[in-house]
């Protein structure tokens, strides 16, 4: 076991896979120098054929990765900024993600997209602060958002080994945190959630940067004797619906905290699932705590006002405790 930062865990997973499998290559802006931290030193170790700086051509290099994947490579594409997904949207959702079906299963596209420093963090303003994973979920792109270094390691392994495109979001707010990571590769399967903190009163579904928030609220409310079950899907698509069902069946109450926009967001999906399939177990309406449906302002008080917080989560939990469906 080694205590690693989240970003170091991603790097270790990538490096371990590059050692294990010659077909794994890395592409992206400034990956040779390792500007984002995930690829530091890899160019020197694996050479120019496997670690490639790209021009600032997101559609071009995402398409390039698709092509390389079609003939046997396993490209890992690092997006320097997570909102640059928009430049390459056609190549991700309309090309890579559909290739398998469109070709009748003749082709596979085993590509991993890594979104470094994703989400908002202290004054990056509107164009650099979105957390755009719901777009990918909606388009059917497998998507993971690890919350801790051990999961970052294990999910990165699974993402690279998966035969479909997989997006991995590495949230800015948590990618500096440390956790124990095994020395030997252990893959965390896609679609298996994890109880971060057990509790019997309210299920709180949180993911990525909202996990620390949920745990903080859980600590605080435990002092009043309210036990939250903090449940982390880890993988947003596929989603461990059974895991959510198990928890909600036990608690009868559900709040979802999610660091993306509200309308058609991840929280909306979880809430809809609970409303239609767990209705009989719910003792109060489901609560959603999300971003406001506005662009993120530069000014810090406005940025904070648009994001989900411990305070808004606590309020939502109190509402679900007060509300009753029976």
């Amino acid at each position: 076991m080694a205590r690693l930062r989240y970003l170091e865990a991603l790097r270790k997973a990538l490096r371990d896979e590059m050692i294990r499998d010659d077909s794994v290559i890395v592409l992206g802006e400034d990956v040779e120098a390792g500007a984002r931290g995930m690829t530091t030193g890899l160019r020197k170790e694996f050479g120019a054929e496997r670690v490639k700086d790209t021009p600032i051509s997101e559609a071009g290099f995402v398409g390039f990765a698709t092509g390389a994947a079609l003939v046997g490579k396993r490209p890992v594409v690092e997006f320097q900024i997570n909102t640059m997904i928009f430049q390459s949207f056609d190549q991700v959702v309309n090309q890579a993600a559909k290739f398998h079906l469109m070709s009748g299963g003749e082709f596979r596209v085993p590509v991993t997209y890594v979104f470094a420093a994703s989400g908002a963090a202290f004054g990056n303003a509107a164009q650099h602060s979105d957390h755009p994973y719901p777009y990918l979920l909606h388009a059917g792109v497998k998507t993971v958002m690890p919350a801790t270094a051990d999961d970052a390691y294990g999910l990165m392994l699974s993402a690279i080994r998966d035969d479909d495109p997989v997006a991995l979001f590495s949230p800015a707010l948590i990618q500096g945190r440390r956790a124990e990571v095994p020395d030997e590769p252990t893959a965390v399967p896609l679609g298996v959630g994890r109880v971060r903190r057990p509790g019997g009163d309210v299920t709180v579904v949180a993911a990525g940067p909202t996990i620390p928030i949920a745990l903080r609220v859980a600590d605080k409310m435990a002092a009043e004797g309210i036990e939250l079950e903090v449940w982390d899907p880890r993988s947003l698509l596929p989603l461990d619906r059974d895991g959510i069902a198990r928890s909600v069946t036990k608690t009868g109450r559900l709040a979802v905290i999610d660091d993306a926009n509200r309308t058609c967001g991840f929280a909306a999906e979880v809430a809809a699932f609970a409303a239609s399939e767990l209705f009989g177990h719910l003792r109060a309406p489901v609560q959603r705590v999300t971003r406001a449906d506005v662009p993120i302002s530069f000014s810090l008080p406005l940025e904070a006002a648009a994001l989900p917080t411990a305070e808004t989560l606590e309020k939502a939990i109190r509402a679900t405790l007060a509300g009753s469906a029976s």
Partner: protein
Amino acid sequence: MSRRGANGAIGLEPELAISLYRTMRLVRRFEETCVDLVKDNEIAAVVHESIGQEAVAAGVTAALGARDYLTSTHRGHGHILGRGADPTRVMAELMGRTTGTNRGRGGSMHVGAPDLGILGANGIVGAGTPIAVGATWAARTDGGDSVCAAFFGDGAINQGVVHEAMNLAVIWDVPVIFCCENNLYAVTTSLSDMTGVPIIERAGGVGMPVTSVDGMDPGAVHDAMVEATARGRRDGTPSFIEFRTYRYSGHHTAEAATGVDYRSDAEMESWRRRDPLVTWPERLAAGGILAAGGKEAIDAEVEALIAESVRFARNSPWPEPAEVLDLAYAGGAGDGFPATTWGGT
């Protein structure tokens, strides 16, 4: 390949010259048949005919080797058939049947075949070009000498991703032959209205050899491709070739119903006089390459193949509705992923 051999004006090996005709004839008759099948609702939606442009498809694909690749477009039947896809299975694909090249999941705009190096036709203008560069780069990292023909139209020259892809090919020495089929129009808009400089000027600044070729002459198309592929195989140089051509049909089978009018009769007539399905066999006959009755024999053989394709497709099963989730992911469907409910609850 002896360009200036005993056959004077043609200058290609007779066998090749004849096979170019056969390919063009196959594509022409295949697509004319598709038009009828669309009318009869046996093929759903529309197809984009390449009628008039067959010389490009035939000449380009004839210059590719077994380990080479191609990416195609919405107007791709010629590329696919020229590359050697089985017409019966392509027809079954267009009719949405399980026996299609892609089990009916792709249709006219998405035929792909790994064994033939066909990395997908593409419904999105220009989008196949970076895929072509990545695949060709990857194929060559293991010491191979593959090249790739990446097809796109004159309209695609205004897609940013095409320029991104061309630059990637230049900086990484990836021998993709950027095959621009200039048929002068993108749907109803003319090239000269939409593009500030001639196509080869636009491509000229990227850093690869650029040429423009008569796309109504399969021999000239083939020659240009032979030069570009040889250069690419040798040192990884990508190339850009503009093929000047024309589509005799509308943008697709539904265009006539829309009543749009954007091409003059005189212009269409002038291009029709250069129909490669007429001019090429005439040249072959004049050069003594096609003996009397030779063309008719090929035509009859193609006709039989088309009839067989339609028969095969019609007799092939449709996919079962229950299979709808199965091919969305390489890992297949299961354990509730993709979600198994969508019609209720």
